[in-house]
């Protein structure tokens, strides 16, 4: 049994995240502990009121219990890790959290919060890759909140490699360095200053094109929305190139032989058919 924290983006619009994660975990023989009461992780509200963030983050940690908690969004991952750090290091904060959670009848707990990169990296080692993504030049887009920040650290923040390790494991030609590999996709700016968001997003696609990547793989629903769902907008407004974008769960699922529809691949708006044709799908 594993708990999966879905987060708002996956729960309300990027359905391919939940569809692909469910199919992949089932394929790996893992049963999901269903939690109906998950709420927002609080991440967007940190600057508006830190207590709003802390209550939301800690109530989800409480619901997760003590085991592994796979967190399928980078923003949520950072939010939960930072809340754990703050609660663990400041006694008055911990007391406030206990008091506030009691109002909802919840008790704080400390699950092991896992990003999809570290989770799948450690789990697919011994699995049979029935449909290797042979010949594909794939680049990793980690997304900022999986690697940077003082509360996270499953990989190097300045030269990570675990996502590329996964891509190699599933038979792709992982391009370990390309221009602006670790740069921001611009998604956060969409709420504040969309022009800047579009500039940053299209720059990521331009660099992927410059490195002659066949596709980009990301674990984050926010980055996925920016680079895949909004790709047509980036092409129209910024003359960005068209580049296939896959979720990490979709790439791994394809390699393990899961059907494209069960990975929600029909929801990708970037030209993923181009990739699928290359691997005989």
């Amino acid at each position: 049994m594993i708990s999966v924290y879905w987060g708002c983006f996956a729960s309300t619009k990027q359905y391919c995240v939940e569809v692909s994660t469910r199919s992949l975990l089932e394929n790996l023989g893992m049963k999901i502990r269903e939690v109906e009461a998950w709420s927002c992780c609080g991440h967007p509200f940190k600057g508006l009121n830190p207590k709003t963030w802390l209550y939301l983050a800690s109530r989800n940690l409480a619901l997760a219990g003590e085991g592994d908690l796979l967190t399928v969004c980078n923003g949520c991952y950072l939010s939960l890790k930072e809340a754990q750090h703050l609660i663990g290091s400041k006694k008055d904060v911990a007391e406030w959290v206990h008091r506030t959670l009691a109002l909802e009848g919840l008790e704080y707990s400390e699950p092991k919060v896992l990003n999809p990169i570290e989770f799948f990296h450690d789990i697919i080692g011994g699995r049979e890759v029935v449909n290797p993504l042979k010949g594909l030049r794939l680049g990793a887009h980690y997304g900022c909140h999986s690697i940077r920040g003082l509360a996270v650290g499953f990989d190097s923040p300045t030269n990570p490699g675990k996502l590329e390790d996964i891509l190699e494991r599933i038979g792709a030609n992982a391009v370990r360095d390309y221009p602006d590999r670790l740069d921001c996709c611009g998604a956060t700016l969409m709420a504040v200053n969309p022009d800047i968001g579009f500039t940053l997003g299209s720059r990521k696609l331009m660099m992927a094109k410059e490195a002659e990547l066949d596709g980009v793989v990301t674990p984050c629903p926010y980055c996925f929305e920016m680079l895949d769902t909004r790709q047509e907008t980036l092409i129209q407004l910024q003359e960005a190139p068209d580049i296939p974008v896959l979720l990490l769960q979709q790439a791994v699922g394809l390699a393990l032989g899961i059907d494209g529809r069960r990975l929600g691949l029909n929801f990708n708006m970037s030209p993923v058919d181009r990739l699928l044709k290359n691997i005989g799908k």
């Binding site: 983006f9 569809v19 709420s39 600057g47 750090h85 920040g149 003082l150 709420a191 029909n266």
Partner: protein, 151 residues
């Protein structure tokens, strides 16, 4: 204090945060090192304006700072200070706050159209339902207390 990581007093103005900043590359006037320096010099008021909301939260400044000042975390604290003083914040956040009190999530549940122009919902994809009404109301109650400063 937001995340508790910020340490503006440790800044020695090397400027690495600004040189690594995603936004400084596209917005010439946006300089995290200047924001940190204002706070360090006791001129915090000077930083409280709309500029603060341009932070992409990419955390490069946090990563590259040799003094562990955590400028991005300081900027979150300043956003909160600005909001507390009644200054405006981006409208998109107002909508997220509304969604949060109504649904417990920052976004509204949508129907989504796929590449073949078929429309899907959580129900049609056989995804489990989101939280029940009673739970939503309980969360909204706690959030309201936090908003009023009672917690």
């Amino acid at each position: 204090m937001a995340t508790g990581f910020e340490r503006p007093e440790k800044c020695f103005q090397c400027g690495r945060c600004t040189s690594s900043c995603t936004i400084s590359k596209v917005l010439k006037d946006y300089r995290p090192s200047r924001i940190v320096s204002s706070v360090r010099l006791g001129l915090t008021e000077r930083t409280l304006n709309d500029t603060l909301w341009n932070c992409a939260r990419c955390l490069k400044c946090v990563e590259y700072c040799p003094q562990k000042v955590a400028p991005a975390d300081l900027i979150l604290s300043l956003q909160f200070l600005a909001v507390s003083k009644g200054l405006t914040f981006p409208e998109a956040y107002e909508e997220m706050l509304r969604n949060l009190s109504e649904t417990g999530l920052a976004f509204k549940q949508l129907s989504v159209v796929d590449r073949e122009f078929e429309t899907y919902t959580r129900e049609s994809l056989n995804l489990p339902p989101l939280m029940a009404e009673a739970r939503r109301r309980k969360i909204a109650e706690v959030l309201l207390k936090i908003g009023k400063g009672e917690l």
